[in-house]
Amino acid sequence: MSESVLKLEGLKKHFPTTTGGVFSRVKGVVKAVDGVDLEVARGETVGLVGESGCGKTTVGRTVLKLYEPTDGKIFFEGEDITKLSRHEMKPLRSQMQMIFQDPFASLNPRHTVGAIVSASFDIHGIKPEGGVKKSVQDLLERVGLNPEHINRFPHEFSGGQRQRIGIARALALKPKLIVADEPVSALDVSIQAQVVNLLDDLQQELGLAYLFVAHDLSVVQHISDRVVVMYLGKVMEMANTTELFANPRHPYTKALLSAVPIPDPEIERKRERIILQGDLPSPVNPPAGCVFNTRCWKVQDRCRVEVPQVLEISPKHTLACHFPEGN
């Protein structure tokens, strides 16, 4: 892979919990993201998976500096953007965009499709060739919508169509990186396939890089070049998609994969499922040592004391586990 579009080094995002009111005090800290290293190459799709509350959405939002990172570094095209102010970020915003999970909440119900898609031209003071209206209609056509619907309101569209509007908005300024935060999880399965294919086509055509946040492993398997598995704010395992799905080494990855249904009842019936006990521990007070030790079936004393280092066990396959699964 060529140069990286995005690189994270030890990214941390902690949310303080406060008492509120005029004399607000900090009560505790939610460690939503706690030391994530990650790299997205040009034109590559990196899938970020994990169960609800593991911090994958927070990673996506912190990458775009919608949240101020607590610690660590964010590099965009080699430039350190960690400390950039809101004002300094503005020129870079055109190159990194976001697609949201809920297509009903991510579009302002009071704006027309035209106003939504052209907002970025307005904000950045860009006058596109052939006029704003023409560009918006081109974008709508590009994402498979009727360009005549420019004056319609979001509520006049279906969920899949709305998600396409969100994609058109993200594409308006020709970004290099798109953070897709569970872009299909709110859609019907048949529509999911259409939107995933659209994202695929756009990538081929425009050379986009995706950071694809999802919890649906089959979608991730389909779209990603590489997959990052997160648990409680930390990266557990990272590998090429084929490698990870064929040869998961981390117990957590293995448990996740065993939850993916196989569309063959014969195999599905015979196969052994790994069912994790208990719930995700609170990120306010994560367990000592390996964060997965409370639910791991291979847990030993060492896991409760020593934090496993992230090691490259084979080329492009990194892992944070004291007792990885065998080959």
């Binding site: 965009q97 809920d102 009071r110 420019i150």
Partner: protein, 309 residues
């Protein structure tokens, strides 16, 4: 297919709502006739300051049934002084409408500004604004208006801003706005709080929009329906508040007349001259109802989800 702008679509929705259109016309009629009061009174041939003693009996009551309604005095005459009721109401409604409109718009504008600031910036800003508006709401406002209006009217007169009734109106408007904004600010604050967490606000941030743009372009348009409904409710509210304080001797005083002043005068005649009470009351009810129905219609027209319900 013909492409329509959002405004045209809203207007079409409004036109479809018959009740809203009719009440809108009624409200327009009242407001226009207040505006054109000098012209109308001239056409009818009456004057708000002339005392038509010939239309009164020897006991000072209107001559004839229904408060002395006749061709010369379409709504009858006032018992006692004998002024023409139509002229009184027309000129009175000018003051009432002006006070109600200025106070409504000003308190909603102030409430909107303060409410969005509190809701959008949250944290300490919100806490300070919240406690301050609690303080204003907990204030004994009616008592304060009655107690403080005289010195304040004198102060306004000393500043040569306005005189007599003008000064009283200015003081009344200031009081209404000062005590009127917290209610709307609270409503707006709660809406802004929920609005700022919506994904479309985050999308605007991801596009690099400034706080100002997010507040004015993303949050504010979603608050217009709230403001319009609140306006339609507070207009009649301030109309009657103005009447109340006129009655208490704080607002406009005779010989000028507002609806409230006419009504409070009419209460003393309710047994002997009921028409004098019924006519202004009916008008007040009609205008209040019309404003409310029109406000509802405007809200439905501005709400893009109105069709899908």
């Amino acid at each position: 297919m013909v492409l329509r702008t959002p405004r045209q679509i809203s207007w079409m929705r409004f036109k479809r709502n018959k009740a809203a259109v009719i009440s809108g016309l009624v409200a327009l009629f009242f407001i226009l006739s207040a505006f054109l009061a000098p012209l109308i009174t001239k056409l009818v041939g009456v004057n708000p300051t002339t005392t038509y003693t010939k239309a009164l009996t020897q006991y000072g009551m209107p001559d004839g049934p229904w408060g002395g309604i006749s061709l010369a005095h379409p709504l009858g005459v006032e018992p006692g002084a004998g002024r023409d009721l139509l002229a009184l109401l027309l000129y009175g409604s000018r003051i009432s409408f002006t006070v109600a409109l200025i106070t409504s718009v000003a308190s909603i504008g102030l409430g909107m500004l303060i409410g969005i600031t509190a809701g959008y910036f949250r944290g300490r800003v919100d806490a300070v604004i919240g406690r301050f508006s609690d303080f204003i709401l907990a204030f004994p406002s009616t008592f304060m208006i009655v107690a403080l209006s005289l010195p304040l009217v004198q102060r306004v007169e000393a500043l040569h801003v306005a005189k007599d009734n003008g000064a009283r109106i200015v003081v009344l408007i200031i009081f209404f706005v000062v005590f009127g904004w917290p209610g709307f600010a609270r409503l707006v604050r709660s809406q802004a709080l929920s609005m700022r967490e919506r994904d479309f606000v985050m999308a605007a941030q991801a596009l690099g929009a400034s706080n100002w743009r997010i507040i004015t372009k993303e949050i504010l348009p979603n608050l217009w329906p709230t403001a319009i409904v609140f306006l339609s409710l507070s207009l009649p509210g301030f109309l009657s508040a103005e009447a109340t304080f006129s009655f208490l001797g704080v607002g406009v005083q005779a010989p000028s007349a507002t609806w409230g002043l006419v009504l409070s005068d009419a209460v003393t005649y309710w047994q002997t001259d009921p028409a004098y009470l019924i006519i202004p009351s009916a008008m007040l009810v009609i205008i209040v109802l019309a404003l409310n129905l029109m406000g509802d219609g405007v809200r439905d027209a501005l709400d893009p989800k109105a069709d899908s319900r």
